[in-house]
Amino acid sequence: MQNKQSTSIRTVVATGIGAAIIFVLMKFVAIPTGIPNTQVNVAAGFLALLGAIFGPVAAGLAVFIGHALNDFVTYGSPWWTWIIVDGLIGVAFGFAKNRLKIEDGVLGTAKLVWFNIYQVIVNFIGWVLLAPTGDIIVYHEPATKVYLQGITTWLVNSISVAIIGSILLVLYARTRTQRGSLKKER
């Protein structure tokens, strides 16, 4: 197995490359929903995979950096409340790592179902509870508008993770060697 030193380097690199991928996905592969500033985000699905492989620190920081950079070059100023919420969701996805054990190469239906329930709840807490409340407190935006944006984002992000995230997780698990797949010859 890898030692502690090399996992910490892997986390640093995964954060950086992950942030670059999230940035590119947010910029080019976003499909608008019709409500301003909310889009079907392919990046959310990738975040699930990043969290499942590299854990909370890498996923949280990667989405924080990627989202901040993207806001910076698209809107001119980062929208901090949503960036922080995105970071927290990344951390939450990272915590699924130990439960999913994707490196072992087995990803059964039970685990997938569990993960999808978990991600819908995480997205709900993030986008419906935290992000709009932050907008109201910090930016003083009208409640109805931010809650509509929040609920739309919750729905599209949950769907994005459910479809793209699940596909990525299953395909990634298939590339890993299964634990215990080698047998001693007698």
Partner: protein, 278 residues
């Protein structure tokens, strides 16, 4: 798509280029936080004028940023319309008075001076940081940016992650474009003309090769870094780091004064809003 490329750094030989990255980062973050908090119109206009003056000195061509500016204006207008549709009386709630311009107070959609004023404040808040952000992006060398992050107290591992992200964004973009063209050549339609589900399926077809090749890249880079003993020391020096000069202290002082004025205005106004209707 070509237009959307990162707006780039270029050494334009102005005093802004010579300021250290840490100074610019601190100034930008400080100003954007105070601008995020305050709803004082006079202050926001002041900061906006200040940033436009600085922008004038930065010798950035309007042509280079036209596209970005248009996108920003488009999104701001959309947001303002949406705020009006969902909360046409929000200004009245905030400022406590009602001066009707159009319609009567019984109707859901009426226009009050307070609402207009509130939305004007919102517009200022959406846009005031844009010139500063553009200056920051276009006058700071990306490699120096990571060094500046480390200098203002962020752990060097995180700074290095940011450096890697900035370094690899163009590579990932290139990969993305290559894979996208290859898939389109195989018949996957991904442009705006295609129906929604086709677009989703198309983007998954790009996503898979992009992500799996990037995961390999993570392994390669982390092994290379381990061979070079990354992370063995407590500290790290940066080739691109700049020392603070007198100009840096001067700039920081200016921004500090502006921020203090903003904080002072909270006291004067008795809250975050400036109410001209009393």
């Amino acid at each position: 798509m070509q237009n959307q490329l990162l707006i780039g750094y270029d050494n334009r030989h102005t005093f802004l280029n010579r300021l250290s990255g840490s100074t610019k980062l601190l100034c930008f973050v400080g100003l954007s936080i105070i601008g995020m908090m305050t709803y004082d119109t006079r202050y926001l206009i002041g900061v906006m004028v200040f940033s436009l003056i600085i922008f004038h000195f930065s010798k950035i061509n309007y042509r280079d940023i036209k596209f970005v500016v248009n996108v920003i204006i488009g999104f701001s207008v959309l947001n303002l319309v949406m705020v009006y549709v969902f909360a046409p009386h929000y200004g009245v709630t905030i400022y406590g008075t009602e001066h009707l311009l159009l319609g009567s107070s019984q109707h859901y959609f009426n226009l009050t001076t307070e609402q207009l004023f509130y939305e004007f404040n919102l517009l200022l808040k959406y846009t005031f940081a844009v010139p500063l952000a553009l200056i920051f992006l276009m006058t700071t060398n990306p490699s120096e940016f990571a060094a500046s992050l480390n200098k203002i107290g962020i752990s060097y591992r995180i700074s290095y992650s940011v450096a890697i992200a900035l370094r690899y964004i163009p590579d990932v973009q290139n990969d993305y474009r290559t894979i996208s063209l290859a898939q389109q050549a195989r018949g996957f339609e991904m442009s705006k003309k295609a129906p929604f589900m086709t677009r989703v399926r198309g983007s998954i077809q790009i996503l898979l090769p992009l992500i799996f090749s990037s995961l390999d890249r993570i392994e390669v880079i982390s092994q290379a870094m381990e061979l070079r003993r990354f992370g063995k020391g407590k500290k790290r020096t940066w080739y691109m780091a700049q020392k603070f000069k007198s100009n840096d202290y001067l700039a920081l002082l200016c921004v500090l004064v502006i921020i203090l004025i903003g904080i002072g205005l909270f006291k004067v106004n008795g809250g975050r809003f400036w109410n001209p209707f009393n």
